[in-house]
């Protein structure tokens, strides 16, 4: 046994150990990368589908995704962009860019109940990132469903945003009134006239709730132009839902045709 306290032994020991550990970790990371990427891609598909409906079976999710989801990319003006793969766009990176330069993925889901537009969201919770997907009806205002996920919110508090009871509350809520984003998460009593814009928050997770709220708003402002475009171009549900306002406000502008087109039943 050499003298384990000599300087040279210590240096050699440290170097060799660093090398061995570095090689082992690098091998583990690169060796597992393809499997991890596959898992991450699947998780993304599952998240997107979850905004519309929850499926458990892996095969079912992949089938649903490949058959019913169409990926497109739009720019900040709402025009479709060619040559970019929507699935590879990282919303976190896009949100850091100048708003005019953002490339925005849209996942159009066609199911039994018509088209749903699923858009990605990314924001900050209390401790770390939060993200999710929101599915919107073709009036571009009524929420079909949401899916939220997080990196490090507190279990039992902020982490509850991943639970179905929280996400289900968004069903049939409305994003905006006209151009104005209006949906908000709050605690305490709801006002009847705002019931389509209010979501019950999680007690003990106020900051995470604010984060979700900001994320929704940011996402809405990203896609505002695209939504407006779809509303004006929209065929069947078009005009009626194009001015999504509360009943009190609609009386001034609505025509019988409008009221019929507004299928969301306020």
């Amino acid at each position: 046994m050499p003298n384990t306290n000599s300087n040279s032994y210590t240096f050699i020991y440290a170097s060799v150990m660093t090398l061995v550990v570095a090689v082992a970790l690098a091998a583990a990371a690169t060796g597992l990368k393809p499997i991890q990427q596959q898992a991450i891609d699947f998780d993304k598909k599952r998240s997107i589908i979850s905004a519309v409906h929850r499926l458990e079976d892996k095969k079912e999710i992949l089938k649903e995704y490949s058959e019913n989801v169409k990926e497109i990319v739009v720019d900040a003006q709402g025009n479709e962009v060619q040559g970019v793969k929507a699935f590879d766009i990282n919303m976190k990176a896009e949100n850091k860019k100048n708003p005019a330069d953002r490339k925005l993925p849209v996942y159009i889901y066609t199911g039994a109940e018509g088209k749903k537009y699923i858009i990605p969201m990314h924001g900050a919770g209390l401790w770390d990132e939060i993200w999710g997907y929101i599915a919107i009806d073709d009036d571009m205002n009524t929420i079909e469903g949401t899916y939220f996920d997080h990196k490090g919110e507190t279990p039992g508090l902020g982490a509850e945003i991943t639970s179905p009871w929280f996400q289900d509350q968004f069903h049939d809520k409305k994003l905006s009134e006209g151009d104005q984003f209006k949906l908000h998460i709050l605690k305490g009593r709801h006002e009847e006239k705002d019931k389509f814009y209010e979501v019950d928050g999680i007690s003990g997770a106020t900051i995470t709730g604010t984060g979700v709220n900001n994320m929704l708003e940011k996402s809405f402002s990203n896609y505002k132009a695209y939504f407006a475009k779809l509303r004006t171009a929209g065929g069947n549900a078009g005009t009626g839902a194009a001015t999504p306002t509360t009943p009190a406000d609609t009386t001034a502008t609505s025509t019988p045709q409008n009221a019929a087109g507004n299928k969301s039943g306020k």
Binding site: M1, T4, N5, Y9, T10, Y13, A14, M17, T18, V21, A24, L25, A28, A29, L32, I35, Q36, A39, I40, F42, D43, D149, K151, G152, T154, P155, G156, L157, S203, G204
Partner: protein, 226 residues
């Protein structure tokens, strides 16, 4: 023939000190009771506060810490005679961190769902004082097998306390256990309210203190140790 093999293995066991001799068994049982890492050694409190709002993360954290402590103990114990004294802490830390990273990578590849929920806690294992405490106090001076048992024992002792705290916090704070409602709706309509303090980290401090109090007052061996 079979008799012959039996006798040879018996002889080997006698020579080597049996795998689960009373002395070795004590390595597992001791940290669960009289030498508990949390309540007696007061180690690993940080994570005891962080992951005990619900029972499920507490159980998973306990399993993670048990695995990491056991294998880090085993590896360090096998290396113990070669480690230069002056950098032994760094060597220990490298072994722990490498183990934790590999576990995290494996989880991410094969059970991505679980890994997403746990990645925060997995990282926390590196900073868990119990792991390094056991390496320094036990594995550096003992043979690999006893060290491995010591790691398992301390992991379980840590886990036992975590589970007790989490059970109390989840049932009193949210009215559920493992996500299942245990307090009937009738109680809530009658005016029962979940204890909001229980979901905050401060609650686990109170609970740990109460556990320490009960344990020390009931066990005369522990009365004067600190």
């Amino acid at each position: 023939m079979s008799q012959a093999t039996e006798t040879t293995t018996a002889v080997q066991e006698q020579k080597k000190d049996a795998w689960f001799s009373p002395k070795n068994r004590k390595l597992i049982t001791d940290p669960i009771g009289d030498n508990n890492p949390i309540t007696i050694q007061i180690l690993g409190l940080c994570s005891a506060l962080a992951v005990t709002t619900q029972l499920k993360p507490a159980i998973i954290m306990a399993i993670g810490v048990t695995i990491v402590t056991a294998f880090a103990n085993l590896i360090i114990s096998a290396m113990r005679n070669t480690i230069p004294n002056r950098i032994r802490m760094i060597v220990q830390l490298v072994v722990i961190a490498a183990l934790v990273v590999i576990v995290d990578q494996l989880l991410r590849a094969f059970v991505y769902d679980v890994s997403k929920k746990l990645s925060v806690f997995i990282g926390l294992i590196i900073t868990n004082c119990i792991v390094m405490g056991r390496l320094e106090a036990f594995a550096m001076a003992n043979k690999p097998w006893p060290s491995f048992l010591d790691g398992i024992g301390n992991g379980l002792g840590y886990g036992a306390i975590l589970v007790i705290i989490a059970l109390l916090r989840e049932s009193l704070g949210s009215g559920t256990i493992l996500g299942y409602q245990i307090i009937p709706q009738a109680f809530y309509t009658a005016g029962y309210v979940n204890n909001g303090l229980m979901v905050t980290p401060a609650a686990s401090m109170f609970i740990i203190a109460i556990i320490i109090w009960i344990q020390r007052s009931r066990n005369p061996k522990l009365v004067d140790i600190s």
